[in-house]
Symmetry: C2
Subunit: 239 residues, 2 copies
């Protein structure tokens, strides 16, 4: 019985199965060991996520078993500045934290044995956000998100994780360790390039490993090719 | 409730979530509409697949609902020549057809409402197979698979599909329509490049569309961002 990994988040999760995406990379990495379930919702903040939580998770578990782990990756939309073009996505910081707590409590109640992994919002490269929205570098334009605000929400996410004693991936900080992260890791100042996806994939893999969810520790589903004896192949399939 | 699409096959299915893979592309295409379940088994032929069918499909369905569709993509290993290096994977043509019939019957019995889509083995580029195995172009070497044998198995697969009146994707023929398919679509004479993956993805999408499984016809899971009114976002989430 394959364990499941549920990816819950906004567009960065929804797009995670595009070419080079971190979700597809997880599905590929665990291709014979686990099922990866995609539950990404473009544009959603934690307020909206909370509204749909039960419906979003329909069929995310199977056979009565809890998923092994759930990633909760929101904040990029919550951190939109309230007085800018995407202000309707903004969620105040204290509510963002309350919503994260409520989402975690929901999962803990629904799937008591599932590990809940929080992921902070990523860093923001503001000039690319302006270009993305307005198509130029007009200095009079203002980005709808700032890296500073994203960092504040990232810290708030980490604080909730610490309070609940849940693992957290600080992708806001991790990503900024890489040279030219602004354009090497981000394609539009917010979403990920294949390299940015790789950074998150590596972090998720490391985190999963720390809770015992790894290629080494998980059994493979059915005999692997190299375990099948060319001289007596059917032997591998005797139960 | 998202419908499910189950991908059952050999290594070309198992690797379908690697970067640019056809399975990940399906998951991405239907990111808000359907779940794609990966059940690929590297090296397997239909004889071995039949041995593991029940166990392989554990947790592939969920909540008592049949998957909407299952792809059955075997034959590349069955078509190994019996007297060559991978002879232990070979399955005689008549048995290959019997096994396909048995696999289809199993799915029809298990999931009566699921559409079963057969996929033929792909074409083979023999010089690349020799290079892959022996690391050179030694003319005394013989490939373990030939394109001719793959074509024979492809025809046999199509015959079974016609007999059962199931849809079939003739990827052996389709792929060979493309210029330089030997190296543009195949990376090692057998497995797919991103371009080869795209060819199969397009064919699967077309086939799914013909049975009413398409972006246009499937409902989206929860409100899409563009359906959310910036002036009253929560309205979209009232049940």
């Amino acid at each position: 019985m394959r364990p499941r990994l549920v990816l819950f988040g906004d567009s960065i999760t929804e797009q995670s199965f595009a070419s080079g995406g971190w979700g597809a990379a997880l599905a590929d990495h665990f291709a014979r060991q686990a099922d990866v379930v995609l539950r990404g919702f473009d544009g959603y903040n934690t307020r909206w996520a909370l509204k749909v939580l039960d419906r979003a998770m329909e069929r995310a578990a199977a056979g009565g078993a809890d998923p092994a782990a759930v990633t909760v990756f929101f904040g990029a939309n919550d951190a939109n500045l309230p007085d800018r073009s995407q202000g309707h996505q903004h969620v105040p910081l204290a509510e963002y934290q309350d919503n994260l707590r409520a989402i975690c409590a929901h999962f803990k109640n629904k799937w008591p044995s599932a590990a809940i992994i929080l992921i902070t919002p990523p860093p923001i490269y503001e000039p690319a956000r302006i270009r993305h929205k307005y198509g130029d570098n007009d200095p009079s334009r203002q980005p709808e998100r700032t890296n500073e605000a994203a960092g504040t929400y990232a810290q708030a996410c980490i604080a909730v994780a610490k309070e609940l004693d849940y693992p957290v991936i600080d992708i806001w900080t991790q990503m900024q360790q890489f040279p030219d992260w602004q354009t090497s890791a981000l394609c539009d100042g917010l979403h990920f390039t294949p390299f940015g996806n790789k950074i998150l994939f590596d972090e998720v893999l490391k985190m999963l490993g720390s809770i015992g969810f790894s290629q080494q520790s998980l059994p493979s589903d059915l005999p692997l090719y190299h375990q099948i004896d060319p001289k007596d192949p059917l032997k591998a399939f005797e139960i």
